[in-house]
């Protein structure tokens, strides 16, 4: 398994744990900024980047 895949599995697992925790909170709206909203953005970005990283080839960079 490539290094990128290994790391993406770590980031996806951590994000999944946070996702399960965050589902207890209301997503709210941009006006009210309920406390689940900002974490939802970060969790979504982490999931997205984790998936992209999973399919990315290893390079020296």
């Amino acid at each position: 398994m490539s290094n990128n895949k290994k790391f993406s599995l770590i980031i996806l697992s951590i994000t999944f744990v946070f996702l399960v925790q965050n589902k207890n909170y209301p997503i709210g709206s941009l006006e009210s900024m309920k406390f689940g909203f900002f974490p939802w953005i970060i969790i979504s970005l982490c999931l997205f980047l984790g998936i992209v990283l999973f399919f990315m080839k290893d390079s020296n960079g």
Partner: protein, 493 residues
């Protein structure tokens, strides 16, 4: 400004502050010489002990001294043994070590110390002169501008880093995610605490630093059998006529190094490494004898050495005035400030003039101490490279464990230390740079705060985040940087 600097000298010249300044720069020089035990490891190990110090200003002066002191120390092992004690000293290995091989070790060490001194003093004065101006500018900022500035800082730390940008962004967002457990800023309720009270205050930044930089470094060296093996110390004389004439002939490189380093130090993600690399490129481009670079040209050593010291000190400007740390070391110093109830940002100078001006004066004093130490005690200092690795490794592990437990007297922190130590080891093994993770972690809460404030002011309209010219400028710079770096990488491939 002169009055303020005099006030700063009154603070910095107190017995305790001058003592901690000296301890800081001496420790900095030693960790700079020793490869493997970096500035981050030392600072994260010492942070919990700053709770015990009576005056928090002494703690900040000591921590800063370690940072810029390590820049001096890093060049010593780079010049004499081609072992860069600090990453920013890698460039000095080229011409510095070549000079040693040609028998000019004394001139190389003297020139590096003199360049570092001039760069450090120039940058300290720049911190004093530029910070108040920066604060006037920063006072015009609202939450939207701050949000844009934090995004800019995070993106720069990713794009100017040494790894692929997707990897960098993954690390940065993981850092922001890890900063979230604890109290929610809007409702004041606990979140992501997994029904465990140990998470109530979130994950400690100090534990993450000690794990990622201290413990993991030791694991890596043990498991990869990387130890320092040195045979003998080269003979050199700094105060010879030949050495002194070589040192003073490179004054133009010192001036260029000051300019490049001061600018490079202020760029988020840049800092000392960017400063020394760009300075080397500048020196090579203006030189008539380009082919002599890498073979012992003193200009290829003096320029980067001046630049990395100037960069180390100007990197304090964005951290102190805007609350944006440009690298992990500054993030750690910022964490120290926050722990001691100093809030970095536009109100810093007005609210804490003793701290700010005391720190500036201590930089000038510290640079003077460093010049003396580097010119007179190099012969003695390099002997620490002969200390067996198992001794330094045991010492680092012991201090890390003791400091981690001392934070909250909790076994829970020790588990976290081990987890982040193992995580840091694998990051290093898999070629992942943890800098964006730390920057994301320290800027995460501020990012959330400014985002929420902006949304409340904008009544939930996301597009108003891009309304002001300053925000548009920062976001477009990020985009240009992203395309430029991606285009450049594609070309290189």
């Amino acid at each position: 400004m002169v009055e303020n600097i005099i006030h700063g000298f009154n603070v910095a010249l107190s017995v305790s502050n001058i003592f901690f300044c000296f301890i800081g720069i001496l420790l900095g020089t030693i960790v700079g010489i020793l490869p493997g035990i970096g500035t981050m490891t030392t600072l994260s190990m010492l942070l919990p002990f700053t709770y015990l110090m009576n005056d928090p200003i002494s703690a900040i002066i000591m921590m800063s001294g370690i940072y810029y002191g390590s820049q001096y120390g890093g060049s010593i092992s780079a010049i004499l043994y081609k072992i860069p004690g600090e990453v920013s000293s890698v460039i000095s290995c080229n011409d510095g070590y070549a000079m040693t091989k040609r028998g000019y070790a004394g001139a190389a060490l003297g020139a590096a110390a003199m360049g570092s001194f001039i760069g450090g003093c120039f940058a300290a004065l720049l911190v004093a002169g530029l910070s108040p101006l920066m604060i006037k500018f920063a006072l015009l900022f609202g939450p939207r501008e701050y949000f844009a500035l934090i995004i800019f800082g995070i993106i720069c730390s990713v794009l100017l880093g040494k790894q692929n940008w997707i990897k960098g962004f993954s690390m940065a967002f993981l850092g922001i995610l890890l900063s979230m457990p604890g109290m929610d800023q809007v409702s004041g309720k606990s979140r992501f605490i997994f029904d465990n009270l140990n998470f109530a205050n979130g994950i400690s930044f100090v534990i993450i630093c000690m794990g990622l930089y201290g413990i993991s470094e030791i694991f890596y060296k043990i498991l990869n059998d990387e130890k320092n093996r040195l045979s003998s110390i080269p003979q050199f004389k700094i105060f010879s006529k030949n050495s002194l004439s070589m040192i003073f002939s490179s004054w133009a490189s010192m001036i260029r190094g000051c300019a490049v380093g001061s600018l490079g130090g202020m760029i988020p993600g840049g800092g000392t490494i960017l400063s020394s690399v760009v300075s080397y490129a500048v020196e090579k481009s203006v030189a008539k004898d380009k082919e002599s670079f890498g073979k012992g040209n003193i200009k290829g050593l003096v320029g980067p050495e001046t630049a990395n010291n100037a960069g180390a000190q100007t990197s304090f400007i964005p951290m102190l005035t805007l609350g944006i740390p440009v690298n992990p070391v500054l993030a750690l110093i910022m964490a120290t400030l926050i722990i001691h109830n100093f809030e970095p940002g536009p109100a810093m100078i007005d609210k804490n003039p003793r701290l700010f001006w005391g720190l500036v004066a201590s930089m000038l004093i510290g640079n003077f101490f460093l010049l003396i130490i580097n010119l007179t005690t190099v012969n003695f200092l390099v002997k620490i490279l002969k200390i067996p690795f198992y001794l330094t490794a045991t010492l680092v592990l012991l201090i890390c464990v003791f400091a981690a437990y001392n934070l909250n007297n909790s076994i829970h922190d020790l588990f976290f230390l081990l987890i982040f130590g193992v995580f840091g080891y694998y990051l290093k093994k898999w070629n992942f740079d943890s800098t964006p993770l730390l920057i994301g972690f320290i800027l995460g809460p501020k990012l959330e705060e400014t985002f929420i404030q902006s949304m409340q002011l904008n009544h939930g309209n996301l597009f108003l985040l891009f309304e002001t010219n300053f925000c548009i400028f920062l976001y477009s710079t990020c985009l240009i940087l992203l395309f430029f770096i991606k285009f450049n990488k594609n070309n290189t491939n």
